[in-house]
């Protein structure tokens, strides 16, 4: 052992943990060059194009009234994991080490939006049983595939995949990939929801490394305190009955996109749907 230590000294090295992968820790700011409207101001009602929705999901989304967010019980619902990193948020990633071995056992993420903390365990622990409690951020484990941190998450609460009322069930699972390209962090999320999606939904986003401490760039997390916002009767749930959502026609008129496309579905995601759109527009013009 003595010779090994001598070797280390000869090579001018201090024993330390090494990073075989890219360093993804630090503070990251989102780029909004894609899906900007969905992610920042938010899309208007009845715009589900490009989502592989089941009929049930479409019905749910069409019955959704934006006033729902004012209902006392819903006011403090945060964006669930499948959506939150698409939202207007900065991201801080840090490594959590075992105090005895100095090995990294987890990556912690602080998501500025709603001040959410999540832990991604990389120590090989299993996911809890299906009956374990669910949370907004779920339970996450990670593994490195080369320079990409691959994160699998279960136990996510019911929420939404688009914040204009498109639902996500508590059976959803996600696989996320964090890959660093220079000062860019590419984030890809693959969302599987057996209740509301007919096929997995994929989204990719980019974050840029923030330099310095950037204290002015962070918004302090404010605890959500629900309070009465409307004069609606207690426990009333704003909604639209089937066929009565007034925004279907409005969305069609404003966007010039036929309602069939705006109400989403797997077929709207593929190049050949452009042809269908042309046909629908021709029919509309007649």
């Amino acid at each position: 052992m003595r010779r090994v230590l001598i070797l280390a000294v000869l090579l001018g090295c201090v024993p330390s943990a090494a990073r075989a992968q890219s360093d993804i820790t630090g503070e990251w700011a989102p780029l909004y060059h894609e899906d900007q409207v969905d992610r920042v101001p938010g899309l208007g009602p009845v715009d589900f194009a490009g989502l592989p929705l089941t009929d049930g999901a479409r019905q749910w989304a069409l019955s959704w009234d934006a006033s729902r967010v004012s209902v006392l019980e819903h006011q403090c619902q945060v964006h669930v994991l499948p959506y939150i990193l698409s939202g207007p948020t900065r991201l801080r990633i840090s490594a959590q080490r075992d105090g005895n071995t100095e090995r990294i056992v987890a990556f912690n993420q602080y998501i500025g939006l709603w001040g959410q903390d999540r832990t991604i365990w990389v120590d090989g622990r299993p996911h809890p049983p299906a009956i374990a409690p669910h949370s907004w951020m779920g339970f996450s484990t990670g593994a490195w595939e080369g320079n990409t941190l691959v994160v699998r998450t279960t136990h996510i609460k019911q929420g939404w995949v688009r914040r204009n009322g498109v639902p996500e069930s508590d059976l959803v699972t996600t696989t996320e990939r964090f890959t660093r390209h220079g000062d860019m962090l590419t984030y890809v999320i693959y969302i599987k929801d057996p209740v509301y999606l007919t096929e997995p939904l994929v989204r990719s986003r980019n974050f840029v490394r923030m330099s310095g401490l950037g204290e002015g760039n962070w918004i302090a997390a404010t605890p959500c305190e629900p309070g009465e916002e409307t004069a609606a009767p207690p426990h009333a749930v704003p909604h639209y009955l089937p066929g009565e959502n007034p925004f279907v026609a409005e969305a069609e008129r404003k966007s010039g996109i036929p309602a069939e496309a705006l109400t989403g579905g797997q077929e709207t995601l593929y190049p050949e749907y452009r042809q269908r759109l042309k046909e629908l527009r021709k029919q509309k013009a007649r």
């Binding site: 090579l11 330390s16 090494a18 075989a20 060059h33 452009r274």
Partner: protein, 296 residues
Amino acid sequence: MSGRRFSAGAPEGAPLRVLVALAAASVALSAQSAPPSARAQAPRDITGYWVSVVSEDWHWRMVTPRKGDFTSLPLNDEGKRVASTWDPAKEKPADACKPFGAAAIMRVPDRVHITWADDATLRIETDAGQQARRIQFGTLATRGWRVNGRGEIEWFEQGRDAPAPPGPATWQGYSAARWDLAPDPAVVRNAVFFAGGIGTSPDGAGTMVPGKFGSLHVVTTQLKAGYLRANGVPYSDAARVTEDYDFRTEDDGTEWFTVNTTVEDPKYLAAPFVTSTDFRKEPDGSKWRPTSCAAY
């Protein structure tokens, strides 16, 4: 996890000169090995037919946006001015392929067919606009890794990017490429140990998935001026496009790639324009529908 952790016990009795030689060889292995060919270096088979899955920017990709809709594009004043003058009625037949240039083509809803033209050249064809890109390896500075004196992985670039050969500007320009390969965990473990990481192992080693991983890095220049979006949002012939392709297999067995595209244009952009676009592999070319730029 503990079974994959490096043990410091094995080399204890070895002569010092052997250890030094091993250390040198281990580090050299990662930094200096000459790659056989770009095709052989590929971390996986990326050939085949791939379809773009349009779950993002749907309103700006599946239909031509309205004139003056620059949403999310970092245009400078000149870029906005030129985009505002777009008049589809004045487009000439020669302009039909403007939305299909290399700065925009991977964002077009289409299918791509990837093949190896030879051991050092990838070919990416699109059915939309019937474009063909040639991705040439061997002319960019190579990227490697080594273990530094602190027992950390350090990335470095070797050589310089060769200038694009003289030639006319085209819709797809001249694309130079390299593989940015991730270190092999086993080689890293050895190199780190010999560089002083005694009794430690690379972070997250317990959950490192063995295999060959890496990105395809592509830089494209010599572009003919075209459109970033079909509604006349311009990029100039000074534009430079940098792409990183990350290939993967999801747990359900489907194969995907995400291409991260950065467009820099001193003439029309105030900042680099960055998008990431997702493609899924298809079993065959049965859905391949070549369409001319004008007919798309």
